[in-house]
């Protein structure tokens, strides 16, 4: 098993009568990109706030880097909240420096790192502009920089791509992937399932304050696969038999479901006997399908 950087164990959080988290468990492996999914109001933000020590859990514990989570870990965690902004009247550089210092970076190091990131993202000329002069997308870039500036071991992004145009979103995605390459662990919450598919290797699904799914994305997909296949024939007509049944048909593209007890190699063999196959592939459910299915099953 891979090293675990962060594990949340049986965490409960109540706000008065309202339960925001009910015995939530997740474990985030080192150097992974961990997708935290769930509908609005499921408790994702509360969980992220607890990991950031913005609020404390009522029960349960959080282990970070083999230690109980405590104040000294603040400098090891970077957080980009969903509801984010900057002081409008403050100058960009001044503000970035302030936020970096609040994370515990010494002045000199903060300046150096900021210069590095500003050059990397080609935003050096914004240094003495006021934030109110920047567009929303520009401000988001600054927020990204101040989140990663102190080289945290764990980065938490809540809807990182909202507000970015496609080009900037791509830049940020590249940066996230690169950070992972350099050993940073990333927790990543979003509603955009296609970005989960692209970059996450682990996911957890939270609904109604509970974790209902957790693990490596491949394994989860495998658990949710329904033995359906997509078959494309060059010509002819496919009819169901004792091995499979046809779910849908559209211009020689068939979705078929394997009957229980049958294997895919036998299926392929039996089809090729009578037809010419252009493509044959197993249909894995998309994360979106899994998401909707699990929540409807609740």
């Amino acid at each position: 098993m891979k090293d675990i950087l962060l594990s949340v164990e049986d965490v409960v959080k109540n706000y008065g009568d309202y339960t925001a988290l009910d015995k939530v468990n997740i474990s985030v492996p080192k150097s992974s990109i961990y997708g935290l999914l769930g509908p609005n109001g499921a408790g994702k933000t509360t969980l992220m706030r607890i990991i950031n020590q913005i609020t404390a859990p009522d029960q349960g514990r959080i282990v970070f880097h083999n230690e109980l989570l405590n104040k000294k870990h603040i400098k090891d965690i970077g957080y980009l909240p969903e509801e984010r902004g900057l002081y409008k009247k403050m100058k960009v550089g001044e503000q970035a420096l302030y936020l970096a210092q609040l994370k515990g970076m010494p002045y000199k190091q903060a300046i150096e790192k900021l210069k590095f990131w500003f050059e990397k993202l080609e935003i050096t000329h914004w240094w003495s502009k006021r934030v109110e002069e920047l567009s929303k997308g520009m401000a988001q870039k600054i927020q990204f920089v101040v989140t990663v500036i102190h080289q945290p071991k764990l980065l938490i992004f809540d809807e990182p791509f909202s507000g970015f145009d496609p080009i900037n979103a791509a830049i940020i995605r590249e940066e996230i992937l690169q950070l992972r390459e350099n050993g940073t662990t990333i927790i990543f919450s979003t509603h955009r399932m296609e970005s989960v598919e692209e970059i996450c290797d682990h996911i957890a699904l939270i609904n109604n304050a509970k974790t209902i799914l957790e693990g490596p994305i491949d394994k989860i997909k495998n658990d949710f696969q329904t033995e359906t296949y997509e078959v494309v024939l060059s010509r002819g007509k496919l009819t169901g038999n004792n091995q499979f049944s046809i779910i849908s048909e559209n211009n020689n593209i068939y979705k078929i479901k394997l009957n229980t007890g049958c294997s895919s190699s036998h299926l392929l063999e039996s089809i090729t006997k009578e037809h010419e196959i252009i493509s044959f592939k197993k249909d894995f459910p998309s994360v979106e399908d899994i998401f909707i299915k699990s929540i409807n099953n609740e």
Binding site: I54, I74, R84, G85, Y87, Y98, L102, K103, V146, T147
Partner: protein, 421 residues
């Protein structure tokens, strides 16, 4: 601790660098000095003597009305007066005083000022009174001798029998001024704290910051930073006021005029006025207490202002929560007068002990003399009040700053008090 210092520094610098702060800091002392010195200055400028012609057959008026500092009288006869009446604006006279058997009229081209009219009336009244007394056979000398002016010297004797002279007007002045300053400071800078909190909340920067520092640190950093802004402004006001008034005395008002106005030679007008009036009042105690009540009054209220700011999304929504904060403040302000009328009464005592009203009311009472144990008790209770309100406000604050787009009720606030960290 390092982080709270960073926050204090930012809150302080951002505000001190603002144009509005700089303008206010420079303009206020100029206005203040202007208000104090303008009357002196103007009074000295308005020296033009006015000539008034008296038309009367009666010698007791033509001889009896005597010249005053700015009013000179000459007697003219009826025919002359008729000419002047046709063209008064070209005559050398400011006004024409016509005294007949039973009517007295004052003709002028411009409207006569009240002071001129009053002093003429006084002179004529006096002449007629004297005349009446003479006719009744009363010796005027007797009445003159019977007249007296008394001036009670108020003195305070302490337990050891030492007496000091006290000036009630000065006590009222100092009490009112210090109370008013605290009232204004709490309001001005308390709202500044509240606005700062709302700004952070609506900017959505607050969540970024509190992933680095505790909400309490952010709140206290802001409160202390703004307190320093207030102190800076206050100290600059004092320094600038003294500088400007010294400058103004030296260059605008000639030394001779100054001597006339104050009867001192080498003190500034403000300082000498202050010295003359405050003999017998323990200024050091008042100054130390002022700093104390100024600071802790502000600290106690500003945490409440911060809590209000955290509970709303926009400044327009603060109204409903502001009321319980502003009521004790405004009440103290309104009750300054009754407290001054009876500075040792039950009302004054209790209001100066209860933390929410004590910062203002204790300052009002102090110049009249307050027993040390009362002052001590009031101070201790204020510190306790500060700790309590800050503790409660911090609980509301840390929940409130993360609540967006929700209308908050008092019931909700009450619930927040029970939430765990």
């Amino acid at each position: 601790m390092n982080k709270i210092f960073l926050i204090i520094r930012r809150e302080y610098l951002v505000r001190v660098k603002k144009k509005s702060f700089i303008v206010m800091t420079i303009l206020a002392p100029i206005l203040m000095v202007g208000l104090i010195l303008a009357p002196v200055f103007l009074a000295n400028q308005d020296q033009e003597k006015k000539l008034i012609a008296i038309v009367s057959d009666d010698e007791k008026f033509t001889d009896g009305i005597i010249d005053e500092e700015l009013l000179h009288f000459t007697s003219i006869d009826q025919s002359e007066s008729k000419n002047y009446k046709l063209n008064l604006s070209d005559s050398p006279y400011y006004a024409l005083l016509e005294i007949e058997e039973d009517t007295i009229s004052l003709y002028s081209f411009q409207q006569i000022s009240i002071t001129v009219r009053n002093s003429i009336e006084n002179q004529i009244e006096k002449i007629i009174e004297t005349d009446n007394l003479k006719q009744a056979g009363i010796d005027i000398e007797v009445i003159e001798n019977a007249k007296t002016i008394i001036n009670i010297e108020t003195k305070i004797i302490d337990n050891e029998g030492l007496e000091t002279s006290a000036n009630t007007e000065a006590s009222i002045g100092i009490g009112f001024l210090t109370g008013l300053l605290i009232y204004m400071f709490i309001f001005m800078y308390g709202t500044m704290v509240m606005r700062g909190v709302i700004e952070e909340k609506t900017n959505r920067i607050v969540e970024i910051i509190i992933s680095s520092v505790k909400p309490f640190q952010l709140m206290m950093g802001k409160i202390i930073g703004i307190a320093l802004v207030g102190l800076t402004q206050f100290i600059l006001w004092i320094i600038l006021t003294l500088l400007i008034s010294t400058f103004a005395e030296l260059f605008i008002i000639s030394p001779q005029e100054l001597t006339e106005a104050t009867n001192t030679t080498n003190h500034s007008v403000l300082l000498s006025e202050l010295n003359r009036l405050t003999g017998g009042i323990n200024l050091l105690r008042i100054f130390v207490s002022f700093l104390f009540f100024f600071l802790f009054g502000y600290l106690m209220y500003s945490s409440l202002f911060a809590a209000v700011g955290s509970a709303v999304d926009a400044e327009a929504d603060t109204q409903q929560f502001m009321l319980p904060i502003t009521i004790p403040l405004i009440l103290s302000f309104i009750l300054i007068q009754p407290v001054m009328d009876n500075p040792d009464g039950a009302l004054a005592f209790w209001l100066s002990i209860i933390p929410l009203t004590s910062p203002i009311i204790m300052m009002v009472r102090l110049p009249f003399g307050v027993e040390l144990w009362e002052l001590g008790l009031s101070m201790i209770l204020l510190v306790i009040g500060f700790i309590t309100t800050t503790y409660l406000a911090a609980k509301i604050y840390r929940t409130g700053i993360l609540m967006y787009g929700k209308k908050i009720s008092y019931k909700e606030l009450w619930k927040w008090l029970s939430y765990k960290g």
